[in-house]
Amino acid sequence: MAGKLDIRRWSGVLDVGQSLSGVVLALFLWTHLLLVSSILLGPEAMSWVARNMELAFLSDDGHGYPWVVSLIAIGVGLLAAFHVLVALHKLPLSLRQQKALKSQMQVINHSDTRLWSWQAGTGIVILLLLPVHLWLVGSAPETIGPVGSAQRIWGEYGYLIYLPLLLTVELHAAIGLYRVALKWGAARDLNTRARLRTIKTVLSVLFVGIGLAALLAFLPHTPA
């Protein structure tokens, strides 16, 4: 009776959707971070990346189409919105559930449960910060570049958003991928699981490091 999609099957679809949306968001996140950190190679490198993201090579005047960036921002926003809606199933929404989680974590010492509570907590913070970031960039795509971005980050206090967003999203994504791997059975034994956990931590630290370096690299380009 394969292929029958009645209402009872939704929780399966949602669970697969949670994993897929999470994985796509995480892959986007890391690609995005690597592209932005082209600033570490100098302003020319970043301008080149920004031009190509706007598909400058397709336009006659070489200015490209900044709205492509807006489209990407909208796409990421939609994907994140879906991801959050599914996640709401899992978060302790009622006071009773929050109390149960708190008392459980007090009585029982379990590190992967603590990891999950970090994932849930960082998820909430991302929920607040991501829309601001998407709006700032999506509404002014033409300003992306060494000077425009530096102005946004350091001249207009964007770092107040970017620093916490970087920290939370890099924790959230790496823990999330670790969990996706375990929940669908990528770890055949407990040693593999331990290895995946180490990789998860390395990824978080690595990307937070690259992200911090990139943010600092914008500082000298801030217009006076």
């Binding site: 399966g12 974590m105 929940k183």
Partner: protein, 242 residues
């Protein structure tokens, strides 16, 4: 490490006694060699406080009665040596998530029975064949070994109380339920199809509600392979969507 004085902090509360309030009570006991938490509890009850309630039957890790939270880890008291704790301090709490009978004693039996009825945790022979005189088909040794691996569960309830998902969502079946479903899913004699199992656990209260926190895997005193089996069930259930 005999000769030490152990300090026990034990959760005490009798819901039957009007006016009683949950509290932690401290006891001291001289350690003897090879002492388990189970032996210590019996000594405490015999020598210091006859009202102390806790469960045990086999004292050998087989019956699953003596599970409790020992210094933050839910496990079997009869298989936990006091020598494991260099500071000599041992805190005992009842398993969370079960009906409390009193002190360290919880009603896991009631939970397991309701679970078995709800998930129909017994063999449903192929074609509804209920003829008990018919010889069963032989089973390949590899299959029997796989089933036996899951049959080792002693229904202690540790995986249920170690699961934060279960604590947040009362109706969640918990790892023990899924392990038992996996056991019948793997059994070639069982007539239920993946679709049938989907109706029982293909929902937020079943495998799709599991958040893979793996408290079950990390605490099961029988080291059952929860991580692999639950992932297997999840893939199996997800594959019925296609």
């Amino acid at each position: 490490m005999s000769g030490r004085i152990l300090t026990f902090n034990i959760f005490r509360y009798d819901p039957q006694e009007p006016g009683d309030k949950p509290k932690m009570v401290q006891y001291q006991l001289a350690e003897t060699s090879g002492m388990t938490v189970f032996i210590a509890l019996n000594r405490l009850r015999q020598e210091q406080d006859p009202s102390l309630q806790f469960d045990f039957v086999c004292r050998a890790g087989i019956c699953g009665s003596c599970a409790m939270v020992i210094n933050g880890f839910p496990t079997l008291a009869c298989r936990t040596l006091t020598a494991k704790y260099p500071k000599g301090e041992i805190t005992l709490m009842p398993l969370p998530g079960f009906e409390l009978i009193g002190d360290l004693s919880v009603n896991t039996g009631k939970f397991m029975r309701e679970l078995a009825e709800r998930l129909q945790l017994w063999l449903h022979p192929k074609g509804g064949d209920m003829d008990i005189h018919r010889l069963e088909d032989p089973m390949a040794p590899e299959e029997a070994a796989k089933l036996y691996e899951l049959e080792r569960c002693v229904e202690c309830g540790v995986c249920v109380s170690a699961c934060a998902t279960k604590q947040m969502r009362d109706t969640f079946v918990g790892a023990v339920g899924m392990m038992k479903i996996a056991r019948f899913e793997l059994d070639s004699r069982d007539g239920r199809s993946a679709d049938d199992f989907y109706h029982v656990i293909g929902n937020q209260d079943g495998v799709f509600g599991c958040m893979t926190l793996l408290g079950c895997q990390d605490n099961c005193p029988k080291d059952l392979p929860h991580m692999q089996q639950i992932a297997y069930l999840r893939r199996k259930m997800a594959s019925t969507l296609l």
